[in-house]
Amino acid sequence: MSASAPSLPIPSAQPKRTSLPFRRTAVYGGLVIASLMFLIPVYIVLITSFKTNLEVANTTMWEAPSSWTLDGYTTAFERLSRNFANSLLLVIPATFLSAVFGSLNGYVLAKWRFPGANIIFPLMLFGMFIPYQAILIPLVSFLNPMVTFINGLSLPGGLVALILVHVIYGLPITTLIFRNYYTEVPDEMLEAGSIDGAGFWGLYWYIVLPISLPGFVVVIIWQFTQIWNEFLFGVTLSNPQTQPITVALQNLAGSQIADYNVQMAGAIIAALPTLLVYIFLGRYFIRGLLAGSVKG
């Protein structure tokens, strides 16, 4: 079929389509059913988290709690509050540093071409696809002396190591997002600044950085969610004092001691920060998501 048919002065098919109520009903019906299926876990998590230990153990899963209680949340918060704080202490500096490095790297790769850049960039990107198991054994032997040393200074060494690791392995994606963003900035803008005598840093500071806000928002949201949700580095590079929330939640669920109301309340506590970010800044979240598919 040829897609480039001459467009004839025929009224568009629009009215004909709206005159098919059956089709519209089917479309909305499909969407509503799919939405309900997607929301089943949300319903279950919510009602379970508000039940008492006794009710969780005895009644069916699908009924709303006969008496609503915050017991699950209190217990879960007692068990997880320290790890929640750890995750915050980890995710804020790591996200900030990731964004700074990503912005500078992206600026260099988008606006300063030098020989070999076309080979170096894909080689950098490969780092975001590897299974981290493939670097885990050297990583742990490499970082353990550092962690012991920092612990000796009575600082949380595990967190410093985790921050470092997240910044390094975040370099590919943050560089990619900023590079794609800066490629859209017209070269003429920078050339004008260059003629006025601005150098590398002058161009970055006065021309590139002031228009970088959307790029920063996308990268910060992306790294925030990724680092908050990360598990493998968290479980191998932390000690009980520095465990991030995902590791603590997995421990909570793995032990048979915690009742399901506590587990579900814990899941909500662990999910809340990224969920809020997603609900309020979802637009940028999706942009980061799509940037992950390389071509951006």
Partner: protein
């Protein structure tokens, strides 16, 4: 592109990142690969003994040793899981995207619902679905709410297995897969009138076909005799992971659909295509590159999946075990660093098979632009 004395500074700014990634990605991969050729373990480390170089023994043990059945189960699980997971995400993602593309009221609400699981960690997903797949009261009892009989499927602890096959047939299956790929490329080159390339691929296809006919792969690589198959417990993982990731596929497809101009669709309608025809002949072909991207993104996620199965199944549920979890347990619980490194290297090779061609073609087309 700017050219002034900032060039040197630009390189200096990029250099730390290049060096860090050089060490932490490529240096460490090399280190892991080397470790995988040794018998390094916790006992040696404690007693200060050096590890011994054992060549490929860890690998032959993994694929053919009597103690490492768990790894073979993992490989089979990963392959079935990856296939099914990609299929579910593609079908569901495309369906939802097409539904949302019908000029829907409240599109933002629907989109938010389909995409929010993406913001969660696999640990949260695992905790939640483990509760839902609770065989006595979970999803199984849902039909009882409307008076239908409940199900007694055991979900992630189900012991049922489909498609059992002997591990010895694995080389044959891999050769068949390679044959399929070669035939695909032969046809593509033939269609593009690159006769020489097509003939070359055709010759290789013929060779592979002969190898399979005479059962060479199996005899060339004698493997341990062991039954493996598709564990039905994997359905639970596919549903949980699909719940989390199909919104992502939907977002990719939706971005693609929005990129197709209305004029193009209108032209097809003028040509007499019905609504179905518009999708069949105009929209879907244009979405093909997105499908490829999605397959690669989803594929590399599923090949290295770890936290979800760890949370759902714990240390010992072999029905949903995966190489990523096995590597973690072998290395950090079992303290067998050499063996763990070998598992990690196999994982890396599997992921590289998916990712490297993708990166290479991505940047080749970008250069042409």
């Amino acid at each position: 592109m700017i050219k002034n004395n900032g060039q040197v500074m630009a390189l200096l700014v990029l250099l730390p990142s290049i060096l860090l990634l050089g060490l932490f990605v490529y240096g460490f991969i090399g280190w892991t690969a080397y470790t995988s050729l040794t018998d390094s373990n916790g006992l040696q480390q404690l007693s200060g003994l050096p590890s011994n170089f054992v060549q490929l023994r860890n690998y032959s043990d993994l694929f053919n040793g009597s103690l490492n059945e768990r790894f073979r189960i993992d490989i089979v699980n990963t392959l079935f899981f990856t296939l099914l997971f990609i299929l579910v995400c593609l079908v569901l993602g495309l369906t939802l995207a097409i539904l949302l593309d019908q000029k829907i009221q409240g599109e933002t609400v629907f989109r938010t619902i389909f995409l929010f699981p993406m913001a969660l960690s696999f640990v949260v997903t695992g905790v939640v679905w483990k509760w839902l797949f609770n065989p006595e009261r979970g999803i199984n009892s849902l039909p009882e709410l409307i008076g239908l009989p409940g199900s007694d499927f055991r979900w992630f602890i189900s012991e049922e297995q489909w498609l059992p096959f002997n591990w010895q047939q694995m080389p044959t299956f891999l050769t068949m897969f390679a044959l399929g790929l070669v035939i695909y490329f032969a046809l593509r080159w033939y269609a593009k009138k690159r006769a020489q390339w097509a003939a070359f691929a055709g010759a290789i296809a013929l060779l592979l076909l002969m190898l399979i006919t005479f059962d060479v792969p199996r005899q060339a690589l004698p493997l341990i005799s062991e039954e493996h198959g598709f564990n039905l417990a994997l359905f639970a993982v596919v549903i949980a992971a699909g719940w989390q990731m199909s919104g992502y596929t939907m977002a990719m497809y939706l971005a693609g659909l929005r990129g197709i101009s209305d004029d193009l669709r209108e032209a097809a309608r003028v040509d007499g295509a019905g609504e179905f025809g518009v999708y069949r002949y105009v929209v879907l072909p244009l979405l093909q590159p997105i499908t490829l991207s999605a397959v690669i993104i989803l594929g590399h996620i599923s090949l290295k999946i770890f936290d979800l199965v760890y949370t759902m199944g714990g240390d010992t549920n072999l029905f949903i075990d995966m190489p990523g979890l096995n590597m973690y347990l072998t290395t950090f619980r079992g303290q067998q660093f050499g063996m763990g490194a070998a598992i990690a290297t196999v994982m890396l090779i599997m992921v590289a098979f998916v990712i490297v061609p993708y990166l290479v073609t991505s940047f080749r087309t970008e250069d042409k632009r």
